[in-house]
């Protein structure tokens, strides 16, 4: 039982985060994009908990707990927004929702 280097966890977290960013950049479906945000948050959570292990202190876990709660709140509101966007525009393509421009 030798264990794994702590850097592996951190790199895994970075990989997951980057995958989330990639999804955000390359996907056009709002729901998928939103899920990619969750993926990024998960990646960050992993590094929080890894640091919690590294520092042998519970605080990192508390932060990731808060991240989870915020993610839950965000999901509730975000999905409600997606519902209304779909109702009013009839599309889930993120590039069709570009009224920020004007």
């Amino acid at each position: 039982m030798t264990g794994v280097p702590i850097s592996w966890y951190l790199i895994l977290s970075a990989v997951l985060f980057s995958l989330g960013v990639a999804g955000f950049l390359f996907r056009r479906n709002i729901i998928t994009v939103f899920m990619c945000i969750e993926l990024m948050l998960n990646g960050v959570n992993l590094s929080f908990i890894t640091f919690s292990y590294h520092l042998k202190h519970v605080n990192g876990q508390i932060y990731s707990f808060f991240v989870m709660v915020v993610a839950a709140a965000e999901a509730a509101v975000g999905l409600a927004i997606i519902l209304t966007v779909y109702k009013s525009r009839g599309t889930l393509n993120i590039d069709d929702v570009s009224s920020m421009k004007n």
């Binding site: 039982m1 030798t2 264990g3 794994v4 280097p5 702590i6 850097s7 592996w8 966890y9 790199i11 895994l12 970075a14 990989v15 997951l16 980057s18 995958l19 990639a22 950049l25 996907r27 056009r28 479906n29 729901i31 998928t32 899920m35 990619c36 969750e38 993926l39 998960n42 959570n45 992993l46 908990i49 919690s52 292990y53 590294h54 042998k56 202190h57 519970v58 605080n59 876990q61 508390i62 990731s64 707990f65 808060f66 989870m68 709660v69 915020v70 993610a71 839950a72 709140a73 965000e74 999901a75 509730a76 509101v77 409600a80 997606i82 519902l83 889930l92 393509n93 590039d95 069709d96």
Partner: protein, 167 residues
């Protein structure tokens, strides 16, 4: 043993993560994301964060993702249609991402050069008691604030998703 478990679940997480991005149908992405979350829960356990592992499954897999699946089913969202119009993102995205990942990996390797090993059972600070104690003493105020945030989010979601405004 630790290494094997880590490798198994890290591979599952990465494969599912890639799947989230490449699957064309949102529901496949959602299922893959559940896979990522489940394997992350196991990794949390390995890191000694047992409460967070349970919370990860209950909150993420059991609540948030159910909501996603629910909405996908409700909208009956199909695969992607139409063409994207932000060419900039498609053009510059990959190089930027690769640069980001490379830099992150570089710094992680420099800062944590692999001397410290993660071993299951070496850290017991993540029990429900420990987390609860920290939440209700040191982090009491953020905890209360975040519960208010949740309440507001619930109200906001209800207001947004209501069919019509009652007048």
């Amino acid at each position: 043993m630790d290494a094997i478990l880590f490798l198994i679940f890290a591979v599952i997480a990465v494969v599912c993560g890639i799947n989230v991005v490449v699957q064309s149908h949102p529901i496949s992405s959602a299922i893959s994301l559940i896979g990522v979350m489940g394997s992350l829960a196991v990794l949390y356990l390995l890191l000694g964060a047992e409460f967070l592992a349970a919370a990860q499954v209950i909150v993420y897999a059991g609540a948030i993702m159910v909501l996603f699946v629910f909405v996908i089913m409700l909208l009956n969202a199909g695969g992607e249609t139409g063409r994207g119009r932000s060419f900039l993102a498609q053009l510059l995205g990959a190089p930027v991402l690769i640069a980001f990942l490379g830099l992150m990996a570089f710094f992680v390797q420099r800062l944590f050069p692999g001397t410290e090993m993660v071993q299951f059972g070496a850290f017991h600070g993540g029990t429900a008691q420990a987390v609860g104690r920290a939440l209700f003493t040191q982090f009491l105020l953020p905890f209360e604030v975040i519960s208010v945030l949740i309440l507001i989010a619930v109200l906001g979601a209800i207001v947004l998703a209501r069919k019509e405004f009652d007048r």
